[in-house]
Amino acid sequence: MIEKIRELLKYRELLLSITVREIKVRYKQSVLGIFWSILQPLLMMMVFTIVFSRFAKIPSDGIPYPLFSYTALLPWTFFATSLSFAIPSLVSNANLLSKIYFPREIFPIASILAASVDFCIAAVIFIALLVFYDVTLTVYAFYVIPILLIQVLLTLAVALFSSALNVFYRDVKYALPFFIQLWMYLSPVIYPLSSVPDGFKSLYMLNPMAPIIGGYRKVLVLGASPDLYYLGISAFISLITLFLSYKYFKIVELSFADKI
């Protein structure tokens, strides 16, 4: 395993080039270009605010709903965009895979890196919202670093496994949008963690995205400590799944060229 990672590091220039290609190409021939990365979570936030806050009166832990939802939508969009680019990435580069060798995980990883650029741009709006709603950051805000790290590990785990599976079963591609949507409803994006009934909570928190999304709100907007117990479980699940899915990826990688 260590050897595989070392090999991947040797190919970092290729990883960088593929990432740059992804970024450059993403918004070519679109009028709004890079603004799409801001528009997407921003429009979602507006619709959510109108529908879920005004119409459905969903509580938001005393946080203004636009800020409440954007805090979750920003990392969620990062997660969803990463997956939707990573999962078809192997199949769409079939021609390369079948002819030369390099670590194949470069493609899903590059998709995630490219999505992180969108994430950073959309984060500007988040900062603007913090200023607008006059939120003071506390020292707990530093927790955002480990939380983001856990999220990236989890994204990587899902992306590696699903992109490899997509080589063998194209069903994955069709199931993906549905699956991501379902996952969002099972994570505290629209509603606060406090709405989850206590009896369900330990089961609910097994979804590794739940403590992550909940964590962002706590450390950034509420200025409190995250729920370290559940966050720890989330980190554990993410690491184990990443280990297993990378292992799976490396085993089936050998037959990509024949199956794709």
Binding site: V25, L96, K99, F102
Partner: protein, 398 residues
């Protein structure tokens, strides 16, 4: 042996027939429940292939389509694994393979050079260093900041080849990359590969262009249906290749009613030549066996420039004003005479037999696209393809 660069030992590669690689989950589930295996039929792309290459050797791999040439490259490049046997390579491997997928149409030539270089394993600093050389080699200076979706397919290939030609591996794998691009560029590529070979690097060269294989390699491996049919001197390999091909063609054309027995391209004194002087007379003779009764046959001959452009195309019915009527068992002798009013370059001569169906659609009965390749020699420095016999008159008046 220490100077071994490539060693393949009893290598087989098996593919499953019946379905393309991927499946749908539903099919797999159905198969599990029905206890049947949909992929039971197998096909060997390679079977018990063994050969060795020493460092500094350039070896051609030839053979008809589907003989397993590309599979060997894929195995050596590490893109896929053999089903059995061992593949050993020593040193850094570089691939000059048709990889247009490595390009992105929206990016400029410049951006694609870096992308492509990274894909085939070059470091950014290497590309920086060789950047000017690469562009000069490609001859695409003017278009380097244009998105390559505006490029022609020839320009695509040139760009890709120019990058990979500046790679510095120990083993170079070359696939049919030269088929695109004009012959000047092809010559450039061959001489680049020669430099490579002469600096003690190992080359595996896969091509249908036997002439370029001969230029580069002293040894060739002939593949036939996944097995090594011959491994040795290039001339013998090429001779056997033609045998294999004509066997194959015989198999395919058994039902056809016409066959070329003999084709000759000579100069006016009856000598078979490969070079003509501009303006010289040429004679093209065909001997054709006829195995069916046909009432409206005609023979065409056509000359192409080395980039594929048809320079001239004519046929017996146009020249004689009538169709050929022939019986089974007859032999048709055809003689075309033409003047080589062409300028300096390499041309190919092809021919075909066809019949007109009630003056309407044409059915091709037999063809030979590159029956001969000849060059035209010329001492003046006129440019172009056709000699239009231009005249010029100058007068000065006060």
């Amino acid at each position: 042996m220490s100077d071994l660069a490539i060693k393949m030992e009893k290598v087989s590669k098996q593919y499953r027939l019946g379905q393309t690689g991927y499946r749908s989950l539903r099919e797999d589930i159905v198969n599990i429940f029905m206890r049947r295996n949909a992929h039971s039929e197998c096909f060997y792309a390679l079977r018990d292939v063994s050969f060795e290459l020493k460092r500094g050797e350039a070896v051609g791999i030839i053979g008809p389509n589907g003989a397993g040439k590309s599979t060997i490259l894929k195995l050596l490049a590490g893109a896929t694994k053999s089903s059995s046997g061992t593949v050993m390579t020593k040193g850094k491997i570089g691939a000059m393979i048709e990889l247009s997928a490595g390009f992105h149409p929206e990016l400029t030539g410049r951006e694609n050079i870096y992308l492509y270089g990274a894909i085939i394993g070059m470091k950014k600093s290497d590309i920086d260093r060789k950047y000017d050389e690469i562009i000069e080699f490609s001859g695409l200076e003017k278009f380097i900041d244009t998105p390559i979706k505006r490029y022609s397919s020839g320009m695509y290939a040139r760009l890709g080849f120019s990058v990979s030609a500046h790679l510095d591996p120990d083993i170079l794998l070359v696939d049919e990359v030269l088929s695109v691009g004009d012959y000047i560029f092809q010559d450039k590529c061959i001489s680049k590969m020669k430099d490579f070979r002469d600096s003690n690097k190992t080359i595996i060269y896969v091509s249908h262009n036997l002439d370029s294989v001969r230029k580069l390699c002293g040894r060739a491996i002939l593949l036939k249906e996944g097995r090594v049919a011959y491994d040795g001197a290039i001339e013998e390999a090429i001779r056997m290749y033609y045998e294999v091909m004509s066997e194959k063609q015989k198999g395919e054309k058994l039902a056809r009613s016409f066959r070329f027995i003999e084709l000759r391209l000579t100069n006016s004194s009856g000598q078979e030549v490969k070079t003509f002087e501009a303006g010289e007379k040429a004679v093209f003779e065909l001997k054709i066996a006829c195995n069916a009764k046909v009432e409206s046959a005609f023979i065409s001959m056509f000359i192409r420039y080395s980039d594929g452009l048809v320079v001239y195309d004519t046929s017996s019915d146009l020249l004689t004003g009538k169709y050929i009527i022939c019986e089974a068992g007859q032999t048709i002798l055809v003689k075309f005479e033409f003047i080589v009013n062409l300028l300096k370059g390499i041309y190919s001569l092809g021919c075909n037999i066809a019949r007109s169906m009630d003056g309407g659609p044409v059915e091709f009965l037999e063809y030979m696209n590159n029956a001969f390749v000849f060059s035209v020699k010329e001492t003046t420095s006129r440019q172009g393809i056709a000699d239009l016999r231009a005249a010029c008159d100058i007068q000065l008046k006060i």
